[in-house]
C-alpha cells in the first residue's frame, strides 16, 4: 500500500502451518476411511459389505474408534488454528487491481536489500507448495546449493549400477569373473537374454526410481509451486539421462577408464568418435525394448491398473474417490527428448535406428495425444514453459552430433571435412543466441502491450467485482480452513460432501477463519 497505492488490491499473509498441516492430513485420511466404512455400512446394495466386515468382526468398535480419534484431531486442529494469528511468516500473497500493476510489483526490486524482499509470480492456488514460505533468502539459497550438489552426486554415482549392467553385455568378462556359470552362459537363449534384454531391464528398474528422487531434490530447492518443482526435476532427469544412459553406455562400453579422457577437451571428439558407433546396436535395442514398451504401457496404464486391482482385492478401497491421473512431465519429457538425441547423434552412424525411432514418434504422437485429451487431467497450466528446456536440449544434441562427426572425420583422416563442420556449429550457436534474445523473454513476463490490452478488456467486464471477491480467498492455506468433519455423533447426520463441493464450501467460509 506504501509503494503501489493505486494498484494494490488485497493480500493474504502466509502462516507457519507445518504442524497443523500434518494434523489436517491425518484428519483427512481418517475422515476418508470413516466415510468409506459408513458407506459400506449404510448402503445395503454393496456386494462385499457383510462378507468383508464379517471377516473383521468388530465393525462398531472400528467406527467408534475412528470417530473418537477424528474428534481428538479436530479439536487439536481447532486449538492450533486459534494460535495461528501469532505464527505469521514474513510472506504474503498480494493481489493487484490490474495485471499491469502486478507486473510492476513483480519486475521491480522493492527494497534496498534485494535479499530481504523477493517478489515472485504467484502460482495457481492449488499449485502452491507451502513449506518454503517460512524460509529466509539465505536458507533457500543454501538448500538450493545442497540440492544441486546432491543431484550431481547422484548423477555421477549412478554410473556404478550402469557400469555393472554394461558388464553384462560383455559375457566373456562375466565368464572369467564367475567360472561356475560358464555352462549356463554358453546356452544361446541365456546369452541372448543376458546380453540383449537383461541390461535394459535392470537399467529401467534403476531408472524408475530416478524421477521420484529428482522431484524430492527439487522440492528441497526452495520453489513455491509444484509446477516449478516439476520443471526443475525435468531438467535434472534430462541431464541425468544424458549422462547415465548416453555417455555412461557409450564410454563404459568396454572401458570405464575412458572417462578419464573426458577431462581433456582435445581428446573428446576422438574418444566419442571411437565409442559412439560401437554402441549403435545397444541403442537400437534400447529404442525397441524401452521406447516401444513405454509407449505401449502408457496406453494400457498397466501399473496403475495393477495397483488398483491389488488395492481393491486386499484393502477394500472401492475406488469411489478415484482421482484422474496427471501427466508426470518430469518423466515423459526427458524420455521423449532422449530419443530425439539418439536420432540426431546416430542418424549418420547407424541410419537403421531411424525407422525404429520413426515408429516410436508416430506411436507416441497418437498415444500421447489421446492420453492428454482423454486420460490425464492437467494439474497446472504449463504456459509452454518446457519450451526453453526442449530448445536447449535440441541445441545440445546438435552440437554433440557435430563433435562426434568432427571426431569421425578426424579418425578417417579428412581434416578439411572436419574443418567444414565448424561453421555449422558456430551457426547453430548463433541461432541459439538469437532465440535466447528473441523468444526467451516471453518466459520472464508478459509484455506491457498484452497486459494493458487485457486490463482494458477487464475494465468493461461486469464480472470483475465477483472475481476480486474470489481473489481475496483464493490463496488461503488449506490447513487453516475450518475443519468440516468433527467425527462426533452429530456428524453422522451431515451430508457426505464430495471433494469438489467440500472445496467450494471451504472457500466460502475461509474469510471468517482469517479474522
Amino acid at each position: 500500500m506504501e509503494y503501489h497505492p493505486s494498484t494494490y488490491h488485497s493480500h493474504s499473509v502466509v502462516r507457519r502451518s507445518s504442524k497443523l498441516q500434518i494434523l489436517v492430513t491425518d484428519a483427512e485420511r481418517l475422515y476418508k476411511r470413516l466415510t468409506q466404512l459408513k458407506n459400506k455400512d449404510n448402503s445395503p446394495q454393496r456386494h462385499r459389505r457383510d462378507g468383508f466386515l464379517g471377516l473383521f468382526g468388530h465393525k462398531v468398535d472400528l467406527l467408534d474408534h475412528y470417530e473418537k480419534t477424528l474428534g481428538d484431531i479436530a479439536d487439536n486442529v481447532r486449538i492450533e488454528q486459534s494460535f495461528m494469528a501469532g505464527k505469521e511468516v514474513p510472506a504474503a500473497f498480494v493481489s493487484f487491481k490490474s495485471r499491469f500493476g502486478a507486473a510492476i510489483a513483480l519486475h521491480l526490486q522493492e527494497g534496498i536489500n534485494p535479499t530481504h524482499w523477493i517478489t515472485e509470480r504467484a502460482p495457481e492456488p492449488h499449485d502452491v507448495y507451502w513449506p518454503f514460505f517460512s524460509v529466509t533468502f539465505i536458507r533457500r539459497w543454501v538448500s538450493k546449493m545442497v540440492a544441486y550438489v546432491a543431484c550431481n552426486a547422484i548423477t555421477i554415482l549412478f554410473l556404478i549400477p550402469v557400469a555393472l549392467v554394461q558388464g553384462l553385455t560383455h559375457l566373456d568378462q562375466l565368464e572369467s569373473m564367475f567360472p561356475a556359470l560358464r555352462s549356463i552362459l554358453r546356452l544361446a537363449v541365456v546369452s541372448q537374454v543376458i546380453t540383449g534384454y537383461l541390461p535394459i531391464l535392470i537399467l529401467q528398474v534403476f531408472l524408475s526410481f530416478v524421477p521420484a528422487l529428482m522431484i524430492m531434490l527439487s522440492s528441497l530447492q526452495g520453489y513455491i509451486s509444484w509446477s516449478q518443482i516439476q520443471k526443475s526435476a525435468c531438467t535434472k532427469v534430462l541431464w541425468f539421462t544424458i549422462w547415465n544412459i548416453f555417455f555412461a553406455n557409450v564410454l563404459s562400453g568396454s572401458a570405464l577408464y575412458r572417462l578419464n579422457y573426458l577431462l581433456e577437451p582435445k581428446e573428446f571428439p576422438r574418444v566419442l568418435a571411437e565409442a559412439v558407433p560401437a554402441q549403435a546396436s545397444f541403442f537400437m535395442a534400447y529404442v525397441v525394448a524401452f521406447g516401444w514398451t513405454n509407449i505401449a504401457s502408457e496406453l494400457f496404464q498397466l501399473i496403475p491398473l495393477f495397483y488398483n486391482y491389488v488395492n481393491r482385492f486386499f484393502g477394500g478401497d472401492c475406488g469411489d474417490d478415484f482421482e484422474a491421473p496427471t501427466i508426470p512431465y518430469h518423466k515423459e519429457v526427458p524420455r521423449i527428448l532422449f530419443f530425439g538425441l539418439l536420432g540426431v547423434t546416430y542418424f549418420i552412424l547407424a541410419p537403421l535406428i531411424l525407422p525404429f525411432l520413426l515408429i516410436y514418434f508416430c506411436l507416441g504422437y497418437i498415444i500421447y495425444r489421446n492420453q492428454l485429451l482423454y486420460v490425464y487431467v492437467p494439474k497446472f497450466e504449463t504456459r509452454g514453459e518446457f519450451w526453453p528446456t526442449v530448445h536447449n536440449y535440441t541445441i545440445f544434441s546438435l552440437i554433440l552430433m557435430h563433435i562426434i562427426v568432427i571426431g569421425i572425420f578426424g579418425m578417417k583422416k579428412l581434416p578439411i571435412a572436419s574443418g567444414l563442420i565448424l561453421p555449422l556449429s558456430i551457426a547453430t550457436l548463433l541461432f541459439n543466441e538469437y532465440c535466447q534474445k528473441r523468444f526467451f523473454p516471453i518466459f520472464q513476463g508478459y509484455p506491457v502491450e498484452c497486459l494493458i490490452k487485457k486490463d482494458r478488456e477487464d475494465q468493461n467486464n461486469p464480472n470483475m467485482s465477483e472475481f476480486y471477491d474470489k481473489l481475496n480467498k483464493a490463496y488461503n492455506d488449506p490447513a487453516l480452513m475450518p475443519i468440516k468433519y468433527s467425527g462426533r455423533p452429530r456428524s453422522r447426520r451431515t451430508p457426505l460432501l464430495s471433494s469438489e463441493s467440500q472445496n467450494s464450501a471451504r472457500e466460502s467460509q475461509s474469510q471468517d477463519m482469517l479474522v
Copy 2:
C-alpha cells in the same frame, strides 16, 4: 502515451544525422580556428601576433577564406537541417513525470516481440553516443558478435609480439639466432638492458595502443553512451592484460608450446606451478619499471605536457580552449587491478614482490586521489558501475592463486595440502555467488523504495516545472542545433561566446529548430 498515460511526460525523436554531424564538426573546427585568428588580430597584447602572421604574410586572405568556407558550410548545415523532419529514426528519448514511471517503462518488456521495442536507461545528455540509434536489433547484435570475435582475435594474436619480447629475456636464444650480435650481447651493460628493461619497454609501447583499440571495438558494439563504451572497453583491456601479460609471460617464458597444455584442464595446475615461480623476477621488475613509472608519469602528466608544448611551438594553438582532461577508466582500472592480481598470485611464491606493490599502491592512493580531486574533470557519473568488474576480477585472482597453490603442493608431493585448498576455492565461489545475488541487482536498477521516496520529495519541490522544461530540451541531437556561426561579415559584430554560454544558447533556441 498509450501504455504509460499517467507517467509519460515528453519525448524527443532521434534523427539520422551522421552527414550533418560531419558538417557541424567541420564548421566547429573552422570556427575555432577563425576565433583564434581574430583574437590574435584584435588583441594587441598578444606577443607573437605580428611575427606569426608576418611569417605567413597573407593574414586577410586567410581570414576571408575561412569565413567564406564557414559560410558555405553553415548554409549546407541549414539546408540539411531543414530536411531533417523526414529522417526520423525509430528511436526516441522519452521522459517520464516520475522516477517510478521511468523505472516501470525501463524494466517491463513493452512490445510482444522483444527485439522490436527495446528500452534502455538514457545516459546523461552529454554522454550520448549517437551512431547506434538508427540501427536495428539484428544489426546491433551482429556488430556485437563481430566486435566480440575481433576482440578475441586481437587478444590472441597479440601473443606474437609478446613472445618476441619474451625471447629477449633469453639471450642465449637470441645469440643463436643472430650470431653477428654475439660480441655486443656479451657486454654486461647491453645484456642487462636487453634482458631487464627492453622487454618491458617494448611491451609498454605495444600496450599503449590497446586501450584505444578496445575503445574502438566497444564503440562498434552498439552502446548508446560513452560511459557504457568505456566500461565495456575496461573489461576488454582487463582480460587482454591477464592473457597477454600474465599468461603469455608465464607460459611462453621458455616454451610457447606449453600453451598446448592449457587445453588440458587436468594439467593446468601443474603447468602453472612450474611456470609461475620462474617468472617472479620478471614481474618484480615489471612492478618497478612499469607500475612506478606509470604512477610518476600520471602525476607529472608528461605526455599531455609534451603534446601541448609541441602544439604550441609548431601550430600556434595558444591553448585558450584548453580542456580539462577526463580520467581514462579503461586504461587505469585494468592497470591497477593487474597489480592486485600480481600481488595475490605471487605473495606466497615470491613475497619480495609485496614491498614493491605496497609502495605502488600507497603512491597510487595519494596520487590518484590528488588527480581525481584537482586534475581530472568527471565526464560522466560512473555510479560505481566498475564495482562488478573489480569484484569479478578479484574472485578470479583468488581462484587463480588457489590453482597455482594446488599445483605447487602437487609438485611437492603433498596431496593432502592441495586437497585442503579445495574447500577454500569452494567457499570463494560461494561467496561470489552470494555477492551476485546480494549486490549485483543494485546495478540493474534502483529499488522501488528509493524511487518512491525520491519522487515524493520531488512532488514538494517548487523547482520541478523548471526541471521539466529543461528535460524537454536536454536530449536534442547537438547536430540539429541552429548553427551559431555564419562566418558572414555581420558575424564579426556578434560577441564571441565561450563554449559554455554557447551551449546554453543552443538549448534555448533548440525548440524553434525542432518545429
